[in-house]
């Protein structure tokens, strides 16, 4: 980034099942909440990015950028949709940091939104496979649970990671979700319940998988000058990276190491001047329980192969997914990246329902497809 950039304000709807609400309605609520939280006047917003994955397929609604901008009364701004599968809105935040850092705009609103419920099952399943290479791997019957099941089997084979260690991720995150008012699942589960839940793609079970979720979240990316003038409850974007990587399972030399995450983390840590041991709180892309273990290793919280025992023993340097993560808070695909930044911003402001005491450095990790589009943001407290 050319200059310092802040997250000036954040907003979110609850994550859950809202089939009666429209994409634009959800996005507008989250966007207004973030703008109000920032205290920055609407007329300082120069661009609106709306992160969304499958809204066009499931609801038939496109043109989300102009629709959300108009509903928020933002006038003649630059407004477009950003799509990077499950990393759509975090990719929008990355673009926003470019524009603000370069001095193109003083403030950019990024909204993530998805409405996954309410569509017929066959339409929903078809929409999710839109992020699989449908020429190369689609004909085999590959699914996203299937991809992460391949990862889990290999991880277990190479490192002896146990079924119970992987289930412990869900147990931990469902425990955090109990206290997050925005979470879709607010009840605990046991290791036995995870292992005994319905099989989806061996060895993954139902409770290893994130739920189907509707929701929206938003962040205001702004210059430090603007956040000071309006006394925004800001946090600093210390590092921001968006990396494209392996869009197919066959691209992986080693299924247990996701190069996109490794490289995005390297870039974000370098920009921030920190390392994994400096991170106090992290929101990682736990779309499946095994994903949190692999991501934690690739972000440097554990050596490769030590993530399974580390979850059980709680030895990560950072508190991981205190929002409940995707497994408990939910995964409204296009909204998840902004939702993670919402959670970490609250942590750094000291306002989170699962507050990590003294949190100064936070990290978000958001992955699209087969970890094919990966964002990592490192955020720092200002006060």
């Amino acid at each position: 980034m050319a200059a310092d950039v802040h997250i000036a304000g954040v907003g979110s709807t609850p994550f859950g099942r809202w089939p009666e609400r429209s994409l634009v309605d959800l996005a507008t609520e989250a966007g207004r909440s973030a703008l109000d939280d920032s205290g920055i006047p609407d007329d300082r917003v120069g661009a609106v990015f709306v992160g969304n994955f499958v809204g066009g397929i499931l609801t038939g609604q496109e043109l989300l950028g102009p629709l959300v901008a108009a509903n928020l009364g933002l006038g003649f701004v630059e407004a477009v949709k950003v799509e990077a599968a499950c990393a759509s809105s975090a990719a929008g935040v990355r673009l926003g940091t470019h524009l603000v850092g370069a001095g193109v705009h003083d403030a950019v609103l990024v909204v993530g939104v998805e409405r996954l419920t309410g569509a017929p099952r066959e339409v929903f399943t078809a929409s999710m496979t839109a992020a699989i290479d449908n020429e190369v791997e689609g004909p085999s019957g590959m699914t996203f649970p299937g991809f992460w099941a391949l990862v889990m089997n290999r991880h277990q084979h190479l490192y002896g990671t146990t079924r119970e260690q992987v289930a412990a991720v869900t147990v931990k995150n469902r425990g955090f979700g109990e206290r997050n008012p925005l979470a879709q699942f607010r009840s605990p589960v046991t290791v036995e319940e995870v292992v005994g839940s319905a099989p989806v793609a061996d060895p993954l079970r139902k409770f290893d998988c994130c739920p189907v979720t509707d929701g929206a979240a938003a962040v205001v990316v702004a210059s430090p000058e603007l956040t000071r003038r309006h006394s925004s409850p800001a946090v600093r974007v210390a590092g921001s990276a968006l990396v494209s990587s392996s869009p197919r399972a066959i691209d992986y030399e080693d299924l247990t190491e996701h190069g996109g995450t490794v490289e995005a983390a390297r870039r974000a840590y370098e920009a921030a001047g920190v390392g994994p041991g400096d991170v106090d709180v992290a929101e990682l892309h736990d779309c499946f329980s095994i994903a949190e273990i692999v991501d934690s290793e690739d972000l440097g919280f554990f050596a490769k192969g030590e993530g399974g025992p580390g979850v059980v023993e709680g030895t990560a340097p950072a508190v991981v997914n205190p929002s409940g993560g995707l497994l408990s808070k939910g995964h409204p695909t296009g909204a998840t990246g902004c939702g993670q930044i919402y959670e970490v911003a609250l942590q750094l402001r000291g306002e989170h329902p699962n507050q990590v005491e003294g949190a100064r450095v936070g990290l978000t990790h958001n992955g699209g497809g087969t970890s094919a589009a990966v964002t990592v943001h490192v955020l720092e407290a200002l006060s």
Partner: protein, 77 residues
């Protein structure tokens, strides 16, 4: 169906029990990720219900709709 031969070792496997709409009628089915002897990787189906162990050898001698169909190495199908 086309004839060809592709051999390698099993990098990983899964049994898909909840499939996408296009393949729902085929579930459950076994998917293999195979490291080929020629240095390429392929995703394909396994003929049997029980997947082979990781790092064991498999061979595909046919493709169906572009998908390699794997079996044990000595098996002629």
């Amino acid at each position: 169906v086309s004839d060809f031969e592709y051999a390698g070792t099993v990098s990983s496997h899964t049994t898909i029990r909840v499939a996408g709409n296009a393949h729902a009628h085929e579930a459950p089915f076994v998917l293999l990720l195979v490291e080929g002897d020629d240095g390429t990787r392929r995703l394909g189906r396994y003929l049997d219900d029980e997947p082979p162990a990781l790092d064991t050898r498999v061979v595909a001698r046919e493709e169906r709709d572009g998908v390699a169909i794997f079996g044990p190495p000595r098996e002629r199908r």
